[in-house]
Symmetry: C2
Subunit: 104 residues, 2 copies
DNA sequence: TGACATACCTCGGAATTCGATGTATTATGT
DNA sequence: ACATAATACATCGAATTCCGAGGTATGTCA
């Protein structure tokens, strides 16, 4: 379904626009890509835990619409990693397009 | 090193520009992407065998510079699969760029 | 009261790729 | 002449990445 390896980038980017809980990230990726991209829950949560362990995001509890939710925000290291991965994405996608003979 | 899932697309595309043997495909992907993309040999040959088994490419023996080489050419089904995968690539990469807030 | 969306989670397995390793030939430099 | 690199093909095991299926629980709407 997805271009493999791009999910951490997408997740970090969504969190760079503001803290969110897991399920909200899911919906943001779907809507923000006009339904083209989709992340399965069984994929998202393990990645979230991994990003947290690596210090790229941090979790905090927050009450959203009367219920306790596990929210995440980007750390400074996460911001740097986001920049790094975004640059890498541009580099690779440009290279593929170059090879395929298309523009940019 | 590579965006996962894109290698069959790249290989099919290279073969669409003319028949080649494995090692030549390798170099074509490297040079055609200005060194950004690279395929390990341990990755290429299994994919080649898989594509052949699926009828997307066909092998033939040819003498290249005095030595017998195993060359591959695209089949009709391979051409269709290439079109399909190229369209999918454009669709997904556009969606990622859309989400990341960039153009196209 | 049933269905559906929200919200979180784990597990097993499939797919994809790389690195290491092996073999053999040809070209290039010294 | 000899060593080294490039060419050329191949297999294997391991790592990474992702999905689907399943589980739990609450809120909302008809």
């Amino acid at each position: 379904m997805n271009i493999k390896g791009s999910l951490p980038l997408l997740i970090l980017h969504v969190l760079s626009t503001g803290p969110r809980h897991g399920y909200a990230i899911l919906k943001e990726i779907r809507q923000g890509s006009e339904g083209v991209l989709g992340v399965a829950e069984g994929t998202l949560y393990p990645i979230l835990h991994d990003l947290e362990q690596r210090g790229l995001i941090e979790a905090f509890e927050e009450t959203v619409s009367g219920r306790l939710r596990r929210c995440y925000r980007l750390t400074e290291a996460g911001r740097r990693e986001l920049d790094r991965q975004a640059a890498e994405w541009r580099r690779y996608s440009r290279a593929v397009n170059l090879l395929l003979g298309g523009a940019s």
